[in-house]
Symmetry: C2
Subunit: 149 residues, 2 copies
DNA sequence: TTTCATGTAACTTATTTAGTTACGATAAGC
DNA sequence: GCTTATCGTAACTAAATAAGTTACATGAAA
């Protein structure tokens, strides 16, 4: 799994889970989808469990299932559950007391608040069901679902 | 200079430059504002020179000046000149041929294009002049411009 | 021609994040 | 119960990224 691909990797996993709604998929199986290992998967999607987006069960026959219908899972929730930041820049003060820095941070934070609201709104309108629908469209067109390396 | 603070650090520098419009500031001086060293400053704002946002001159009495009026310098241009990405997530394929991944990337890229347009629009409406105005407001209120450590 | 500045390559250091190992807890099947 | 399969998580290692540093060439003013 590459850097900065936690969101896309997680979506990849979730679409696979949505395609097998009644079958618990193990961390091992999920890991192969995104070319990583089970521990990274558990660590990555632990937040989704806390958010109720997925459930996990231990022991024989255990694994991961969606916590609710794909229609009820938005990308905004997923992104938030991953702890992802939508805007990458920092506004941490480095020169406390500098009025120039304070002005810069104030303006940048205003922008950030407005921008995050906008992005969250856009992301909340895209659901996991939209992704699975897009996948099925491609599948029906090509008829292949192989995982090429 | 902390990680992910290239944008705010650069804005900090630019406001200082806007406050001394006729005085070329050296990389050394700019570096002290953001607690780093001259080479990092040159490297960081090299893109701004290429974009015409600042000019630099070598030799005795040399240094950096704004390339045009603060009213004509938008945060969108600055961010672009820094080579900053507005959205942090990657959509590089990791499993070429996987239709699930293709669907995920397609949806995410659509979102990215729309989001970047939105953010760039918002940032293009904020100019360096807005930042200096905010700074001056704070300065007039408190009457101190010290750089506390 | 000396001094002061940027430009930039090359290297070092620090930070972050993914990957890995190890092991405890839990649950199903026998 | 015992075995096997699975998650949960801590601790460590490795890789990637970005900042910091050193060094030196280039250019311009005094």
């Amino acid at each position: 799994m590459k850097r900065n691909s936690r969101l896309s990797s997680t979506l990849h996993i979730l679409v696979h889970m949505a395609e097998k709604p009644e079958q618990a998929l193990t961390s091992e199986e999920l890991a192969t989808f995104i070319h990583t290992n089970p521990v990274v998967v558990r660590r990555t999607i632990a937040g989704l469990r806390d958010a109720g987006i997925v459930t996990s069960s231990r022991g024989h026959g255990g694994g991961w299932l969606l916590g609710r219908a794909p229609e009820a899972i938005s990308l905004a929730e997923i992104s938030a559950a991953l702890g992802e930041t939508l805007l990458p820049f920092s506004t941490e003060p480095e020169s406390p007391g500098c009025l120039v820095e304070q002005a810069v941070i104030a303006v940048l934070d205003d922008f950030r608040v407005a921008a995050e609201k906008l992005l969250a709104e856009k992301l909340s309108r895209i659901t996991l069901a939209d992704l699975t629908a897009d996948f099925r469209r491609r599948y029906d067109l090509i008829g292949v679902s192989s995982h090429a390396v």
